[in-house]
């Protein structure tokens, strides 16, 4: 399947190559460079390139290209998925997936790649197994190794690979048994010029950090599992149990891993009655809050009185937009300047503070410079990439942060037709915007009492305001 792998940095140097079958010459990468030149932007390099004898499938991660060489038909996603898994593993081992890290640990990288693929077919990709085979480098170990001459290669052979639960290694032992769950939700939204939500959904993940001895069997239940309508699971989760009881039951891998990822969308097409509710609630909400919000009621009966429906809606709004943006960006015809005025304020934030607010704007090419004054935070404008970044920080409702000023355009150039769209980043601690709540975590199979913790964070995902 996967014939060879080349790692290429941004300047086009091949700094690592690995072949699982016979050797493929580096010159095959020329086709890739050609495509890269054509694409102009790194993001636009087509992931699949066909060359006379091979196919190149590549991914772009952390300023590196992973280019794999394929000779025969194979599902492209199979390869892409694998390459990302390789990058994840590097990240996991070295803390970062960068050229320097890979070059420093070239032997470990090579050993890893050797274990991950056999003759081009994935062999061991679970991080728990790999860590048993090849120990990740730590400062302590490298000191010890240099003194004692012992090696990074595990001398015990991995048993996990042979068991029914390949993701967990055997003989885990901790003095403090802890299980932490981070519920992280990201709001993806497109908000149009007038401020109405074109599209909004919540992308959530539950990341777990499990440090439990032995073979614990966990089950995690939610207060409102019905919220999760589209979920993807870590292989350790017993699917049937979820189907029947809406409980996540699993024997966890050791360490950090992503337990589930889910999507809560504003586009609810569950059945007829919900859809009616949808209409009711949307109309109602639009009436009550002229500043609009797109919400979906999750009502059971469509015959609820309107007021009640409203009540329900407020309780159950699936996608609330926690910030609003007032903006006026204009460019004057036939003069080389324009006005820029953006104010950002909180909305529906459930009483929590919105922090870490950043606004990023890709200004049109004709913009030469910007002369702005922020009432809060600081801004930078990169005249080369034309990216304006405004680091706002916390939003306090008493004094709304704004950024005002003049935009200098190239003289003589026609005024840009399109106003740039604003990309907004923010973070709300201790809140899952979808309202998802973990009910309880039970542990079976082991006797000790673990320490349990759940943390909620809401962030902006791909949150875009069109202007």
């Amino acid at each position: 399947m996967i014939h060879s792998l080349f790692l290429i940095n941004c300047s086009g140097d091949i700094f690592l190559e690995k072949h699982w079958k016979s050797v493929v010459s580096q010159s095959v990468c020329d086709y890739f460079f050609e495509a890269q030149e054509k694409a102009a932007d790194v993001e636009n390099v087509p992931p699949v390139i066909s060359t006379p004898h091979h196919y190149l499938i590549s991914i772009y991660r952390d300023k590196l290209f992973f280019v794999s060489v394929i000779q025969t038909e194979v599902p492209p996603l199979f390869v892409i998925e694998f390459l990302h898994r390789v990058a994840d593993t590097f990240q996991d081992y070295f803390g970062e997936c960068s050229e320097a890290a890979i070059k420093d640990n070239v032997v470990i990288v090579y050993e890893l790649l050797e274990e991950m693929l056999d003759n081009g077919f994935p062999l061991a990709t679970e991080s728990n197994i790999l860590k048993e085979l090849i120990k990740p480098p730590t400062i302590l170990r490298s000191v010890v190794n240099s003194i004692t001459g012992s090696s990074n290669v595990g001398d015990t052979l991995p048993t996990g690979q042979l068991s029914n639960i390949p993701w967990r290694r055997a003989g885990v032992k901790y003095t403090n048994n802890e299980a932490y769950f981070d519920v992280v939700e990201e709001i993806d939204a497109i908000i149009d010029k007038s401020g109405s939500t074109v599209f909004a959904e919540i992308q959530g993940v539950i990341d777990a950090c499990i440090k439990l001895s032995g073979m614990p069997d966990l089950s995690l239940s939610f207060m409102n599992p019905r919220l999760l309508d589209d979920v993807s699971f870590h292989p350790c989760i017993r699917f049937k149990r979820w189907e029947s009881e809406r409980v996540l039951s699993f024997i966890p891998p050791d360490g950090n891993f992503r337990l589930i990822s889910y999507r809560v969308s504003s586009q609810k097409y569950v059945d007829g009655s919900t859809r009616i509710c949808h209409h009711i609630s949307v109309c109602w909400v639009e009436l009550t809050f002229p500043c609009f919000m797109l919400t979906v009621g999750y009502l059971n009966s469509s015959l609820l009185p309107l007021a009640m429906a409203h009540e329900e809606t407020r309780k159950n709004c699936l996608v609330a937009i926690p910030v609003y943006v007032k903006h006026s960006i204009s460019f004057k015809e036939n003069s080389s300047c324009g006005r820029f005025d953006v104010t950002i304020g909180p909305k529906q934030n459930m009483g929590k503070t919105i922090e870490g607010v950043t606004v990023t704007v890709h200004m049109p090419k004709v913009v030469l410079n910007m002369n702005l004054t922020p009432t809060q935070g600081s801004y930078t404008f990169d005249p080369v990439t034309k990216v304006l970044t405004w680091d706002v920080g916390k939003i306090t409702p008493q004094k709304l942060p704004s950024l005002k000023g003049l935009v200098n355009l190239q003289s003589g150039a026609p005024k840009p037709e399109e106003n740039p769209s604003l990309n907004i980043q923010f973070k709300i601690q201790q809140l899952a915007i979808s309202g998802l709540k973990v009910n309880r975590l039970d542990m079976y199979g082991e006797k000790y009492k673990p320490f349990k913790g759940v943390k909620y964070v809401t962030k902006a995902g791909k949150f875009q305001v069109r202007t």
Partner: protein, 1041 residues
């Protein structure tokens, strides 16, 4: 450094060498020095040497051979992981000389104890194949062997080997198909992808198209495509309705195996791996009935949040799917909205999907969205958007004018690209209905003054020329203007000016004759030879002259021929002939090694090829099997009940696998399932007591039918009977005890004569039910010893009850009532029943003797009855009965057959052949028939029982109903359930029975401690725990009834 004795130095050296290899530098001259270290004790050094060896062995073949012996030693290592890694490296060395060694190693490893080593063997197969393709035949044998492997670890790798070595040998899959389906969910992700795509191909060759009947109905909407989309526009609600409606109107019935595949892959849509999700999505797209394909949309939309490469591939596939099945993605329309930060290639794909999804209802939203995109800074994307608008306009008639107006507005855009693109699109749109758009053409004509983009100018000129009849006044004026600026125009515009002039000359020669001549003479002296040529050619054509008369007569036809409107369609239109998700699909070209997705077969191939007996099978597969068996016989009656049935079986098998998955956690599922079964059982009892009143003969039939009722609601069809007993072939798994199991004892209890009872009673029943019992022809066979043991047991029971001992009881108790093997309808007049006679089989003491009764109810004699090609699970063997020459109409006969069930309750499947037909039948033994009674004293019994404690002891508490508290009833019920001998016992409340299993001869000891209150405790001690558990179940049921 490599020559030192110090491991740390060696390691350092090897690390440097590997770093060189990694950078792509040649390190081959170090080969001899490195190879020496292959036997090094240090694991890390060893591993790095392996890395080196695999990389350079091809170049230094002779030296590489030196290392082979080390690996050969490794292959014999007691540690499975060392064996595996030795095989891995050995097979990775690409040296043709060692092919025979590799072959040997692979063959050995394929039958290794450890699944991990077998997995490595599977990995080694394609390596060897690529090295020497002559080994194919031998490798296929190994693959065949490994395919039969039951561990999840091996499954993925062997299917990958299969795909690489012999993808055309689809016949190897038959036997393993169901196993693969059932294992699928537990296989690791990479294996899942390979298996799913292989199964897609397999299913395409083996099952009928689920849409074959729909296709006729669908053709119309499909053609209209964007026309009448009402039902799809209604969204999923209507889809569900359609799903409900479809089964009722189509006579097509999905093969149960086909259903199995769909059902088992569905949960994988929630996999974290994009590749698996895509694989399942393509499987559903290619295999599922239209109503069910919708489920994949949600999962695919989820993938759009992933890395941009994943998005790219998924969107390509979505684009193809959305052309065929638009309704599927419509609810997710907004998920395809474009963000300004998306890479251009993603934007364009999203646009493609949006365009495909646009229809009458959502077009306003889509167009509003497009309007935003048009103002984007990314000009390639804007151009694509304009084209998309054009496509929407051609497809949806209602918005054509709106689109056109919008596009016309775009003409005033400053960006050349935008204007040019709009003009081109407008040109195409106008071509579709020029008559109504005189206005726009006029507007365009005015634009010629402003627009500078040559392509756009050319397009306008072409339009005016083409439709000059609609704008008779403006056209000559435009030509005049163009003639004025002719010399300053671009070539492409000049050509169109000539064209326009020619067309006008032909239609309106009065006004334009001079202008045309002027233009042509200007063109004659142009710098570009193309233009000069065109001018000369045009002049010859249109200007009448003496010589060229022949052509000029046709000039009008040449120039003003009606031109077909261009069709704007998606570039993804015909991509779906490639398997979705494949590399070939992505490239829209066949990649090397691409396996065509075969078309659905016209006729379904024989489904029985997938029949295998594997003890691990869960109930659902049994069910499938049974259904499938019926199919050849009852395809018509099945037709009606099919859909409901498959729907019914769903939840059950779900809960079934549920219990399997939860068995690790020991959760309550299995108990809840057995609850269900208990209910069934109760129901059963109610029914059977009802039917007691009815006539005996009829009752039996009914009972059998009822057995099926809880599963299938198929009361009307008696068709189930033929395959009755095959159903519960897998009892090795305790939870999968099927209903039959519990029902069967109930049914024979009814019909078995109470053995310990007085003779008259027994006689009475046997008179009624004569043929149910040991037919006279076999009686001589019963050897005396065993009879005496059973007799002893009977005597025991009898003495206790003070009943007179009647000689007629000496004939062995027949174990079960008559079971139907083949119903006369199914057998075309041949009805076959069987009973377990409980006599030792004469040929082989390990065999259970089964009496088979044939009766011919047809009006022609049936000839040459014999057993053909038994398909038996491992260990089970059959002693066939001698061929029955002929069975004349109305006649009945009996034959004896011996079956060695190997102490399991797996069904023995075989074919019953007549001269003309073959029937698939199977015999399923109740657990009680797998043993023979043993006579032993109380002391012996206690001694043996003492040995069989702990795991081998199964205890169950029960309450005896009033009716069965008397001794003889208890004894009779126990002996009726199981072929055991009574052991004398001191206390009156205790009953003891003993027997040995037929095949292995393990003891089965049964103790029943009954209190006068009715509370009782049943204990079974047996080495065969499975048999013990099942026996307890059966006996408890028999007693509590």
């Amino acid at each position: 450094m490599l020559d030192t004795n110090k491991d740390s130095l060696k390691l350092e050296a090897m690390k440097r060498i590997v770093a060189m290899i990694a950078r792509g530098k040649n390190a081959s001259d170090l080969f001899p020095a490195v190879v020496k270290n292959v036997a090094c004790k240090n694991i890390e050094v060893k591993k790095l040497v392996y890395v080196y060896l695999v990389r350079y062995a091809e170049e230094q073949q002779d030296l590489a051979l030196l290392s082979i012996s080390t690996f050969q030693r490794g292959l014999k290592d007691p540690n499975q992981l060392i064996r595996a890694s030795a095989l891995r490296v050995l097979s990775s060395i690409r040296v043709p000389i060692i092919v025979p060694i590799m072959m040997l190693a692979i063959k050995e490893a394929a039958s290794d104890m450890s699944p991990y080593v077998r997995k490595t063997a599977a990995h080694a197969i394609p390596k060897l194949y690529s090295l020497d393709s002559d080994q194919k035949d031998q490798l296929i044998e190994v693959i065949e062997k490994l395919l039969a492997d039951k561990t999840t670890l091996v499954a993925g790798s062997v299917v990958m080997a299969f795909e690489e070595v012999c993808p055309e040998r689809i016949d190897l899959i038959h036997k393993n198909y169901r196993k693969l389906c059932n294992l699928l969910i537990d296989v690791e992700e990479w294996g899942q992808v390979v298996i799913i795509s292989m199964l897609t191909r397999y299913a395409r060759t083996q099952f009928l198209s689920p849409t074959q009947n729909e296709s006729l109905l669908e053709e119309n909407p499909e053609k209209a495509f964007y026309g009448s989309e009402e039902d799809e526009a209604k969204g999923p609600g209507s889809e569900e309705a359609a799903a409900a409606a479809l089964p009722t109107r189509k006579p097509y019935v999905m093969d149960p195996d086909h259903r199995l595949l769909l059902r088992n892959t569905k949960p994988l849509l929630q996999s974290r791996s994009a590749a698996v999700v895509m694989a399942v999505a393509q499987l559903y797209f290619h295999l599922a009935p239209k109503a069910e394909v919708g489920v994949i949309a949600k999962a695919l939309v989820r993938l759009l949040r992933s890395h941009s490469e994943v998005q790219y591939v998924v969107l390509q596939n979505v684009a193809t799917m959305s052309i065929k099945r638009r309704g599927m993605f419509e609810p997710y329309l907004k998920s395809f909205y474009i963000r300004s930060t998306d890479p251009t290639q993603i934007k364009i794909l999203k646009l493609e999907v949006l365009t495909n999804l646009a229809n009458e209802t959502n077009i306003p939203t889509v167009l509003r969205e497009f309007q935003t995109y048009i103002r984007s800074m990314d000009k390639d994307f804007v151009a694509a958007t304009i084209q998309a608008i054009g496509r929407c306009a051609t497809n949806i008639g209602r918005v054509r004018d709106t689109c056109l107006n919008g596009l016309v507005q775009l003409l005033s855009n400053r960006d050349e690209l935008v204007v040019a693109e709009s003009v081109v699109v407008i040109k195409k749109l106008l071509q579709m209905q020029p008559a109504q758009h005189g206005e726009i053409i006029k507007h365009l004509a005015k634009l010629t003054d402003n627009i500078q983009v040559p392509m756009a100018r050319a397009s306008i000129l072409w339009l005016i020329g083409e439709y000059c009849e609609h704008v008779p006044r403006i056209a000559p004026d435009v030509l005049r203007k163009m003639a004025k600026s002719f010399t300053a125009e671009e070539d492409i515009v000049k050509l169109q000016v000539i064209n326009l002039a020619a067309k006008l000359y032909l239609t309106n020669s009065k006004q334009t004759k001079l202008l045309t001549q002027y233009v042509l003479s200007l063109a004659k002296y142009d710098q570009n030879y193309d233009i000069r040529d065109r001018a000369r050619f045009t002049r010859q054509l249109i200007v009448p002259s003496e010589q060229g008369g022949a052509l000029s007569r046709h000039a009008k036809k040449l120039f003003l021929a009606p031109k077909p409107a261009p069709v704007l369609e998606s570039s993804f239109k015909d991509r779906d002939h490639f398997q979705l998700g494949s590399l070939s699909h992505l490239l829209n070209a066949k990649a090397t090694g691409y396996q065509e997705l075969p078309d659905w077969p016209e006729e379904a191939p024989d489904p029985s090829v997938r029949n295998v007996e594997v003890p691990e099978w869960t109930k659902c597969s049994n069910r499938e099997k049974r259904k499938e068996k019926e199919k050849p016989f009852y395809s018509d009656s099945e037709g009606e009940s099919g859909p409901t049935e498959s729907a019914d079986s769903d939840p059950e098998s779900e809960s079934e696998s549920d219990s399997k998955s939860s068995s690790e956690s020991g959760s309550g599922e299995s108990s809840s399932e057995s609850d269900n079964e208990d209910q069934d059982e109760d129901e059963e009892k109610g029914r059977s007591s009802e039917s007691e009143q009815s006539e005996e003969e009829g009752e039996k039939k009914k009972m059998k039918k009822r057995k099926k009722v809880p599963e299938g609601q198929r009361e009307g069809s008696s068709s189930d009977e033929g395959s009755d007993s095959s159903s519960s072939s897998s009892e090795s798994e305790m939870t999968s005890d099927t209903e039959e199991e519990q029902v069967e004892p109930a049914s024979w209890r009814k019909k078995t004569p109470p053995s310990g009872k007085s003779a008259p009673a027994a006689k009475e029943i046997s008179l009624l039910d004569l043929e149910d019992f040991t037919p006279p022809s076999v009686q001589p066979l019963s050897p005396p010893t065993v009879v005496s043991t059973s007799l002893a047991a009977d005597l025991e029971g009898l003495t206790l009850t003070d009943s007179p001992l009647v000689p007629s009881l000496l004939s062995p108790v027949s174990g079960a009532g008559r079971q139907e093997l083949l119903h006369r309808v199914a057998g075309e007049g041949l009805a076959v029943d069987y009973t377990f006679s409980r006599q030792p089989f004469s040929g082989d003491p390990h065999m259970v003797s089964v009496h088979i009764h044939f009766s011919n109810s047809s009006d022609t004699p049936i000839k040459g009855l014999h057993v053909g090609t038994p398909k038996l699970p491992a260990g089970i063997s059959i002693q066939e009965f001698p061929e029955i020459e002929s069975l004349s109409p109305g006649e009945s006969t009996t034959a004896i057959m011996g079956i060695n069930f190997c102490d399991s309750t797996q069904a023995a499947n075989f074919q019953l052949c007549t001269q003309t037909r073959q029937f698939y039948v199977s015999i399923q033994p109740p657990v009680g028939e797998l043993m023979a009674p043993v006579f032993m004293s109380e002391n012996e019994f206690k001694k043996e029982q003492g040995k069989l404690t702990g795991m081998n002891e199964i205890t169950e508490k029960l309450t005896l109903p009033d009716a069965s508290r008397s001794d003889h009833v208890v004894v009779q019920k126990v002996t009726a359930t199981a072929n055991l001998g009574r052991v004398p016992c001191g206390t009156s409340d205790e009953y003891r029975f003993a027997g040995r299993t037929l095949t292995s001869g393990s003891l089965v000891l049964l103790t029943l401690d009954a209190r006068p209150t009715g509370a009782a405790q049943l204990t079974v001690n047996s080495e065969k725990m499975v048999i013990g558990t099942m026996l307890v179940k059966d006996v408890v049921q028999a007693l509590t009834q």
